[in-house]
């Protein structure tokens, strides 16, 4: 009896220990990511470009230009600009008046590139400005000028392009994968007789589900990027992810189709509807919650996937736009949040940036998780 009680206590202790370990692991990892990345999080972080943008812009002033130092700032009348000194960058734009001509400055291509607060000034007309230049030194550069050519740098460090790329990828992948998965599941549940074809399909799904994402990435790089000639693009990544997500979509749809009671089908057919009408109007709507859960699971997977995208989507941080038209294009490349986080660590060892991106990823993934939970609860599956 004594022996049993001791071993019982031992096991209970081990059980509590394991559970604590598991819970602490989660807390430590999430805590690590938040503590390392929160300093970079700000509204500008979410809206800025990833890389710096350097531009040479021109504008004119209507009135007389005078520069005057007021405290820590250099106020330049006539062009409505206030400049400040920054330890890291040199001279930055502190304020741009509402009527400042700089708001409509033109770059070398004739496009408008407005001068904004926070930009770094690297050159005025022929003079270059360095990290050590003081406000005094530049105050004389404005006199007797009415046309100005500024070298202006818009700082990057934001994740806006990655957000757009991720959204485009999610949208494109779901557009292709959802119909495929749902249609395939409908076949498996509603049409197929148990036999060779169904077993073949099921076997294929098992294999697809068991393949590591590296293999999907290799296949995608080979087939979609090289053989089909899509190169590194959102479409190439979306197609690769479709193949990867097919098992998830098919399985969750299958599950929810199976829960639709047969009596529904019989009643519908009894009323004279044919199979297609039954599926469209009765079965699919009932199975919708399950399908939605499958979609949410897929979105989570898309956001978190990296190995399959390394060579199908590329790792450069940009918005996938066609430069000629300026429109978003799925034939263009642009790294997603997760890919970028990986590159930040692997190539630059920049834990802070990777963690900041990690925070955004975690927020998205946890929210999705919550949504799927609420969904299952609401529809009582």
């Amino acid at each position: 009896m004594q022996k049993r009680r001791i071993s019982d206590y031992l096991m209970t202790a081990l059980i509590w220990l394991s559970a604590t370990a598991t819970a602490s692991i989660l807390l430590i990892i999430v805590g690590f990511i938040f503590s390392n990345g929160w300093r970079l999080i700000s509204p500008t972080f979410l809206t800025r470009e990833a890389n710096d943008t350097l531009r040479i812009v021109n504008f004119e002033s209507e009135s007389m230009v005078t520069a005057e130092i007021m405290g820590d700032l250099l106020v330049v009348e006539g062009i409505g600009l206030t400049l400040e000194r920054d330890e890291t960058y040199g001279i930055k734009v502190n304020h741009v008046a509402a009527d400042a001509p700089g708001r409509h400055a033109l770059d070398n291509a004739g496009e408008i590139f407005p001068i904004r607060r926070g930009q770094v000034l690297e050159g005025i007309n022929e003079e270059r400005i360095h990290g050590g230049t003081t406000l005094d030194e530049i105050s004389t550069m404005f006199d007797n000028h009415s046309t100005f050519t500024f070298r202006i740098r818009q700082l990057g460090g934001g994740i806006f392009p990655m957000l757009i790329s991720t959204l485009m990828l999610i949208f494109t992948t779901l557009l292709i994968a959802t119909p495929l998965g749902v249609l395939a599941a409908i076949y498996m549940v509603e049409y197929a007789k148990q036999g060779r074809i169904v077993n073949m399909i099921r076997f294929a799904i098992e294999i697809l589900a068991g393949l590591p994402s590296v293999v999907h990435g290799l296949f995608g790089m080979l087939f979609f990027s090289r053989i089909l000639g899509l190169g590194m693009s959102v479409l190439s990544g979306a197609l690769t992810l479709t193949v990867l997500l097919l098992p998830i979509m098919i399985r969750s749809t299958e599950e929810s189709l199976k829960t639709v009671p047969n009596s529904y089908r019989e009643a519908s057919l009894g009323l004279g509807a044919n199979k297609i009408q039954t599926i469209r109007k009765i079965i699919l709507p009932s199975a919708l919650p399950g399908i939605t859960v499958g979609i949410i699971l897929s979105i989570g997977r898309i956001v978190g996937e990296s190995a399959a995208l390394l060579f199908t989507l590329g790792t450069f941080a940009r918005i996938p736009v066609n430069p000629a038209t300026g429109n978003l294009s799925i034939f263009e490349a642009g790294a997603t949040l997760t890919l970028r986080a990986f590159i930040e660590v692997q190539e630059f060892g920049n834990i802070e940036m990777a963690s900041a991106i990690g925070i955004v990823i975690l927020v998205i993934v946890f929210t999705l998780n919550l949504c799927s939970k609420l969904m299952t609860k609401k529809f009582g599956k």
Partner: protein
């Protein structure tokens, strides 16, 4: 009458059309798998066939070689196979006990309010992308190991095992919880009525009762561990040779080898990467089949 026949014919035609549509959607998966297998196996097996334009290589040397030096024409994945096996085995060794015990906690031991908190916690762990585990490993686990390792750096098999354990834990816990809860209550009640303690009931009745589900969880965990790349690539060290003889040795896994070279491999080297995939594939298949067999046997008992 004519109109009726026309309508019926039209409907029959549209029915057939839809049937074909659904069927092709279903066959898409089969086509994909076939394409993947063909592409990979043709490219990966060429180096071992005579008459390859990039030269031939002996399959045995490939499997048992301990140097990966493309510059010298040496392609040995032997040491990677060992590293992958050690890493998976180690992750299972750590992850399965902790996972099962945590599942027991959630399903049986914890007061219900605690269980309600723990379960979403574990699910959240499952949702975290693997890259972030890699970042954590790189920034925390590797420096930590660096403090007490006899080797010069913390990039090691131990780091890989730790990261993989953390990754397989959530799936093992989640599935085990479901299986434990699925054990019929009269098993538990009967055991308690016979005088067994709660702990005894758990270990002698419930866990064996949930055997099938738990083994499924293990199979899934193994699949995840052996195929994981991104989290591991940042903590493994990735040396070009060397069978790991110590848990502190740096390792290169089959999966990380593929990703490291994927961008620039051409000719024979590229074919060798596909050959590596074939080896990986075979191992996953072999492990899955063995575990399936064990599962079937266990369920029968």
């Amino acid at each position: 009458m004519d109109v009726e026949i026309k309508l019926t014919k039209k409907r029959a035609f549209s029915e057939k059309l839809f049937h074909a549509l659904f069927l092709s959607a279903g066959l898409f998966a089969v086509i994909c798998v076939t394409a993947i297998i063909i592409l990979i196996f043709t490219r990966g097996s060429r180096p071992f066939m005579p008459g390859n334009e990039y030269g031939t290589y002996h399959f045995f040397n490939f499997l048992t070689g301990t140097f990966w030096r493309p510059a010298f024409g040496e392609y040995g994945v032997g040491y990677m196979i060992i590293a992958s096996l050690f890493a998976t085995f180690g992750a299972m060794l750590l992850g399965v006990p902790i996972g099962i015990l945590t599942a027991v906690f959630i399903a049986e031991v914890a007061p219900s309010w605690l269980a309600k908190i723990m379960q979403p916690t574990v699910e959240l762990l499952a949702a975290i992308p693997s890259v972030l585990y890699g970042v954590f490993g790189f920034a925390v686990i590797v420096p930590m190991i660096n403090n007490f390792t006899p080797n010069p750096t913390g990039y090691s098999l131990m780091a890989v095992i730790l990261v993989l354990t953390i990754m397989v834990l959530p799936s093992i816990v989640a599935i085990s919880v479901t299986s434990l809860r699925a054990v019929p209550t009269h098993y538990k009640e009967g055991s308690l009525a016979l005088g067994a303690s709660h702990i005894q009931t758990i270990f002698k009745v419930l866990i064996p009762g949930a055997k099938s589900g738990i083994l499924t969880a293990v199979v899934l965990g193994v699949g995840r561990a052996i195929g994981e790349t991104m989290a591991v690539i940042l903590v493994a060290g990735n040396p070009e040779s060397g069978v790991p003889t110590s848990i502190f040795d740096p390792v290169r896994l089959l999966t990380t080898n593929i990703v490291l070279e994927q961008g620039y491999a051409t000719g024979l080297q590229a074919q060798m990467l596909f050959a590596t995939v074939i080896v990986l594939f075979t191992f996953i298949l072999a492990i899955n089949l063995t575990l399936s067999k064990i599962r079937k046997k266990a369920v029968r008992i």
